[in-house]
Symmetry: C2
Subunit: 305 residues, 2 copies
Amino acid sequence: MSKAEDVGLVIVGSIGLDTIETPFEKRESLLGGSVSYACAAASFFGKVGMVGVVGTDFNDEYMAVYNRFGIDLAGLQQVEGETFRWSGVYDADMINRETLATDLNVFEHFMPIMPESYRSARYILLGNIAPELQLHVLGQVVSPEFVAADTMDLWIHIAREKLVEVIGRVDMLTLNDSEARLLTNQYNLRSCAETIRQMGPRYVVIKKGEHGAMLFGPDGLFLVPAYPVAAVTDPTGAGDTFAGAMMGYLAQQGNVSDSTLRTALLHGAVVASHGVEAFSLDRLVTLSPSDIAARLVELQAMMAV
Amino acid sequence: MSKAEDVGLVIVGSIGLDTIETPFEKRESLLGGSVSYACAAASFFGKVGMVGVVGTDFNDEYMAVYNRFGIDLAGLQQVEGETFRWSGVYDADMINRETLATDLNVFEHFMPIMPESYRSARYILLGNIAPELQLHVLGQVVSPEFVAADTMDLWIHIAREKLVEVIGRVDMLTLNDSEARLLTNQYNLRSCAETIRQMGPRYVVIKKGEHGAMLFGPDGLFLVPAYPVAAVTDPTGAGDTFAGAMMGYLAQQGNVSDSTLRTALLHGAVVASHGVEAFSLDRLVTLSPSDIAARLVELQAMMAV
């Protein structure tokens, strides 16, 4: 049974300290990782519980950021060692990027543990992390209403079998267009989505970055455009932010009707578009519900005929 | 004054016999060129006049295709020599392509002449063709209500000055995203559109192929998605088809209000999505108004929240 202090949405994923270089600027040791972006985005819509791991170098300033979003940290483990670190450099197009270094550190032996207060959560987002860890989380939840999983090319390459097992057990898979093609060995995105849906999930969201996203489900197709931001500062975590806001909205609404799902994707697009306007969670920290509402109105006006 | 036999929409552009190779098939001497695609697409919405040139090798079968669309051919010149020929090969993504050969032939000395019955046309589409020829057409029209021009990277490279003159004299410029970036030397598409609008046109349409198009104008931004076709056979001419259908719809409606423009772009997306399902004009030849109407309903359902 759900208790008052139980969280409605739980997100698992990576926590990283990122070094990011864009054509305009280089920044070091930025708070990042899929669960950081996703929880921050989801927090605008209700209580969200985080499952992740950090090292002893994860200082109070980073913790303070999580606390500013009111994220429930009962599932956050702090262990001996260094936090996961990633560094990458973006091309001039601010889309393609090269990974310069990946240091797993405390991630290497991470085993996600769901606190008791998370186990009856009705909404679960398995953020981008090794499929084996996603499965481990799935094994600890009690009949959630809606589980979404995100993934990336790395896992398709090195852990396809486990990933297919995850895909077979979730309600929605989110991934980007090139990953959908890699996973299915097909090019046309409708065909990709159809193939993935046959692997299990009722819903597939194909993310296309600045070109928006496509929702495939039993009620047909929904095309959500990306909000065209005037200046992208750092696209890192945009997909995680999108997924987090989408799941936060669903948990807030408490249903996954076609109309709610479509509106959830719009919220994902809006929050993600704010997120890329600054490095790390910097823009999300200052973001207000009225900023989200205003841009939602603006985006819907751009879609209206 | 407009007479009963006058056409409401005139389109100028290239007529070519194309040799096209996709990853799946190679086809030769296909009827193509910007004005062929644009006029065929526009013909679903009313009478359209064609301004172009062909050689003596342009046989009755090709002419019969134009006649099937009911295109007014008073502005079509047939001269001694061979028709313009283009050949290209598409990458596996069916988007990027390499031009293998371009033979200007009769195009080299082409000077577009507007028949008397075209000169009072209220809607003009300057299809993709040398800016100098677009200017020549502009010099022969009498106060049209709405002039749109399309262009391509070639003219930005070799005829920028004349192209800028064209841009300064039209109501709308349509071009694709990479061309917008090339023309303005900016990356962000909102900035590109703003810069182009400062060069003259009230409206800029940035075409993004399978990712749709963006309309920038005094009433804000409209994001039209591409209809996701199940199988692309040949993307050649999709941009011309889009522009032709859009202008055909505007001429049919007889106004360029924001709402009409948005609906015109939707029609452009729908007709273009049909066009890429076959080589040349093959799909447009079999297309019916009810096919267009049905896919328009389908596309709008994919945009509805």
